[in-house]
Symmetry: D2
């Protein structure tokens, strides 16, 4: 009888290697799926490792363009920031990877998708809600939530022993005392020694951004051009950098990551509320994302009508929660995304920004579709404005306040 096929989201690390072996020993056929979302990874080596362990096949899919164009940049366009600080780098990658997993499962006729996400985290939710949305008939195997598995493997040592016993190659480098998730948008660090929110992060933990004291000692200037809220080109005038004009989304992000990293831009250290109701502490470095969000916000307030901005802001807060919680493919996210994108029709123009010593400083903004009217606002010219109108405006706004005061005086 044919074995049931499992598509395993494989990372090459100890956990998913042990899961791979464990699934095979549970009599599944397992095809490993590795998404290249820009992480620093030797895919060839990982593939060989998986095949060595017994994977039926290993699929490596380059999703970097997909991730940048359909997840990261739309998140900038929508202004998605979770709990005022986190740019959602991991939250955005999970639905992107899930599309790859589900496509593979459907193509190969798999019955299950499996992953190594743990039971307290957000990623299990993001993967599974995405998978179920895309493939409602699909089934999930989440070993870290199966007592059979998690009771056997109670810590890293149990996994190490299993690896040894099953001839699974283990990296010689000792594991860092925290865990990491990396993609082209960001690197996150959490758990282990970081679980103490009162302990400053260990030195040297960050990988793509320099410490402020080591950041370049000159500022870099960048022009970023947006159409409908999406960055469409980046121009770096010659200076310390070679003059560049980039229009490819992936190249834009890679370049801003590099430059931002040199200038120490985009680190945060926060406590956040997980969807499950736990508070957790995480560090993130998001150089390109930080620059793009700051610039987009500037252009947005410059161009959008004041009241449209407020409606949009409500939607953006909702959407950030939807995405963080794993609901990227939900009806509410589909709907809210359309609304948010509708709001961006006028968000066109160019912002010049300086990055220096961790700071992103707006120098200039220009737009063909801005409601900014320099004549109208000028202190020196009337610009069609009648100052007497303000008197009426204030008096009418004061009506309600005066009534309230009079009533309050009566009350006392």
């Amino acid at each position: 009888m044919a074995k049931d096929l499992v598509i395993l989201a494989y990372s090459g690390g100890l956990d998913t290697s042990c899961i791979l072996k464990w699934l095979i020993k549970k009599s599944y056929d397992v095809v490993c799926f590795m998404a290249d979302v820009g992480q620093n990874e030797d895919f060839k080596k990982a593939k060989e490792k998986a095949l060595g362990i017994g994977a039926k096949d290993v699929i490596v899919e380059d999703l970097r363009n997909e991730f940048v164009s359909n997840y990261m940049l739309p998140a900038v366009q929508m202004g998605l920031i979770y709990e005022s600080r986190y740019y959602l780098g991991t939250s955005l990658a999970r639905p992107c990877i899930s599309v790859g997993l589900v496509n593979a499962a459907k193509k190969l006729g798999a019955k299950y998708i499996s992953h190594g996400a743990t039971g307290k985290g957000n990623d299990q939710v993001r993967f599974e809600l995405s998978v179920y949305s895309l493939w409602p008939e699909g089934k999930i195997i989440a070993p870290w939530r199966l007592p059979e598995f998690f009771e056997r493997f109670q810590g890293r040592n149990d996994l190490m022993e299993y690896a040894k016993q099953e001839n699974i190659p283990v990296s010689a480098t000792p594991k860092e005392p925290w865990s990491t998730d990396e993609n082209i948008m960001h690197i996150s660090y959490e758990s282990g020694v970081l679980e103490d929110p009162s302990a400053a992060p260990p030195n040297g933990i960050f990988k793509i951004t320099r410490n402020l004291k080591d950041a370049e000692d000159y500022p870099s200037i960048i022009d970023i051009n947006f159409e409908k809220g999406l960055p469409v080109s980046v121009r770096i005038p010659s200076g310390h950098e070679k003059s560049l004009l980039l229009t490819n989304p992936l190249a834009i992000v890679e370049t801003l990551n590099k430059l931002g990293g040199q200038h120490g831009v985009g680190r945060i250290d926060i406590v956040e509320n997980r969807f499950l109701g736990l508070k957790s502490r995480g560090l993130y470095e998001t150089p390109a994302g930080t620059i793009l969000h700051a610039v987009h916000l500037d252009l947005e307030v410059f161009t959008l009508d004041k009241e449209v901005l407020r409606v949009k802001k409500y939607l953006q807060e909702k959407m950030a929660d939807f995405v963080y919680n794993g609901f990227w493919f939900s009806p509410e996210a589909n709907y809210t995304r359309k609304c948010l994108q509708l709001s961006q029709d006028m968000v066109n123009g160019t912002v010049t920004v300086q990055i220096y010593k961790g700071n992103v400083t707006i120098l200039s903004r220009k737009s063909p579709t801005s409601l900014y009217n320099q004549d109208l606002v000028s202190m020196n010219i009337a610009g069609g404005f009648s100052p007497e109108d303000s008197t009426g405006f204030i008096n009418i706004n004061a009506l309600r306040l005066k009534e309230y005061s009079r009533l309050a005086q009566q009350e006392n």
Copy 2:
């Protein structure tokens, strides 16, 4: 017959000096009111000037403690940020000053309050709505909205000429080509050459924060302790600075301003939406405010329940608009303020923060009332958590998504 008494919000500058004279010539008695909200001003000299012009009296009131304790720090506590970036330094000072104006008017039996705010700006609204709320019977004279006044004085030159003609002393220093509002929370810069949003600010415009390249080349570490969301003490361990423990609110703000300024913290350059519907461009430097907001946010997310945080965030966005628009004393602001303060009961604890090269970096947070539970979130220990529960949680959350997918598939 006795003349009607006007209380004039007097700054000592050209505009309000001309208004003072103009009011006197319109047969009013005028008492000048100067609020010391921390601006850099020679009050004695200004007083003499006003008396010289003909003011019946000049009241100088030190409102610095009042402003810090009842406006600025509550704004930090409430998390008030206008359009995602502006900390509302001027918006908060206006109601504070209005209390002083109204108290003087009531005490002296004045019939009018007058000010030099212009007809396109926010400040006229903030002053007048505050005054009408506190004193519904009061009347306002806003010369910049009276055709008789604004048609006569069409620009600075007309004022200069009037000053000359009326023997009003004029500062020898040429006026800067922009206008400034200063208080202990911030300095704002707008209009004049700043009206072009595509022109970077002129060098040397900022007064209390250093340029990043001139910022100190060492980091400073500060411990800030909060009770119910209000900063109650600041400790600066010895290092580059002398060891300090501050508990006086005014001293806290002054010290953080000084330190933040040395490190280049707290500058922004933004376009904002005025209440009247105009877009305007402004620069702000808010060193202490920037540090305090960053630290308060960190502690708030660390301590507050996730869902309380979301309700509070909605209220905070509303409140920021109320304050910006001049509705500090309105029924809605009174109500929302109470609600926001209620949310802060658990926001207690200490955050350690590093300020360096314009950056405010959280190093550590501790709280006796945080919902953070290190055992519960730990990847290494169960902490009372059953991973199987997550399966149910995810499956139930997926129910709705699966139904939606099935319906969507039918549709296609």
Copy 3:
């Protein structure tokens, strides 16, 4: 020299007839514009009256289809209810009429639009904001806000006298002691004796709905079919009424008005908050609108995803305020309308409703696009549901609550 042309929103009543004369005597050419939005009016007679007074021309435009299709039914689709009770009948008519006014003004080369709305009301705002949005160069003459006019005409008697003096025909019927606005969606009653909110409305005030005691003593059953949230057909099975199938929007509304009126459906008596900050008391009768809103709501909750419904509800509350306040053509209303209409893609189906003695009772709803799943919800069959999942769902939701309880216990 040619006179400036004014387009006057003319009603045929005393106010606008006097305004017409007054404008002519101020040396304007005046063309009267009458919009037929379904009010009970003798347009021919009104036209003759205006010409008799001296109008250069009178335009009567039938805007009933336009009003129903582009204002009233979209308002049902969007679910617009002001302050939980008012269906916005007048608020929706004003922008519709304004389009007619502006089109006439542009076509005839007018410089001004004039209207008889008073200075304390909402309609002046709705007319003028609509006109300025559609025709930013246009100018408004609002006599009731010009001291020259309102000081001369301080009450109805002054108008009567002016009419007499200027040979303006005056209706023989004495004016009712309240004012009325009528269109195909509703009739409103306010001011005069209604200004006392503690006095019950006078008997016989309502025109299109019967008193409950006089309502038909049999129920009527109606099937209403929606596509994308818009009512597209109404079927009335034979019974007390003749069997009918209606698909023309105007006919649908007229028929539901008649039937609803017979059954006493759709009266309210409320105090509302005007845009200017005043509270006012109004009565409204809205038979078809009341039926359509009730039915649309039922279908909407039946079909829409739970979370989409919540995002939509926020937008709908905002939109109701925009419309009430006169911002139908504003950027925020244009944007929010698009978002709300996007939400209605799945709101398809048929609701059967009984109307009887003022009550609108839903009897049945069916939809090809509902997310309602009878198998899934059934208490008798599993329908793919695993009860154990609920345990996990509840336990995870309880996590946060338990932490909060434990902390609260520590605190005490």
Copy 4:
């Protein structure tokens, strides 16, 4: 060894009687807890039945006053309506009953609380989240979610057979083909034949409200007096009813239920979204609640400031979801409740209301704390209002719209 003690939420019906037996046979000591929240129930008989089955004890607690004063009337005060229609009668009773359960458990040293709520419903969530909030150490036994139980009892027949086998007395009356939840606020009906949303409810299903055709043929008039948003007295002038003045909360609700029921007030038939993501169909009859909500809303809009009303409305929508979903004792509900109650300080006064043929018609409202100002709003007197101010108000509001129009014209 002593057996573990379970407190069972007991109803006297077949389900909880079988659960009682099943728990005893699982070697638990079981104390039954019956809350009297106003349902029509023979508690004495139920108690005997439970003791006969083997309950160690039966506690019957009269929670009617508690339910009315601390749950139902505060819900009126807060304006809680779920998905625009449902007054939350069951949702409010669950936390009230949970307090009784937890108090009993703590007092008797129980380890478990058990209930008969099913796995697809809301009530399991409401009970358990309430219990966990009040008693984080507590444990729940929910048999309908235990495979051992729900696989054995797959339908009513299995329970009947078990009852027979275990000598559990079974009611002679055949069970109605739907399920019911009753308390002093409402009766709900769902499941069974009601699961088809296109089928009108069976005749005779409703218990406390008359059919419209059988409703009294005279109107009843009631005066309801509120303090801080809570109904504190009800006066029924003599007429068809005996003249009455009620101030006891329970008596108020009972009387309004009786009167409302005679007039056919308060039925709805809706589809709603359960917390678990299912849509379900339910009927509710809520006579007193319907009257009180209508009257409270009228007084609220009459008294509250316009903008406070809007902030409050947002909170009220959130709170309705919290309560429906079972989060009555959560941090967010505790917080939001305090905020909502704060909003009600000015909601004082008396509303006169007519109930007749299913309709609740406001006749009059009076308040010592209303912001309604009859002079100010009057069309006949100025009341301190300057019509010219409206011109300025409108012109300033139009500024933004004109800019938008000009830009839109450029674009085209």
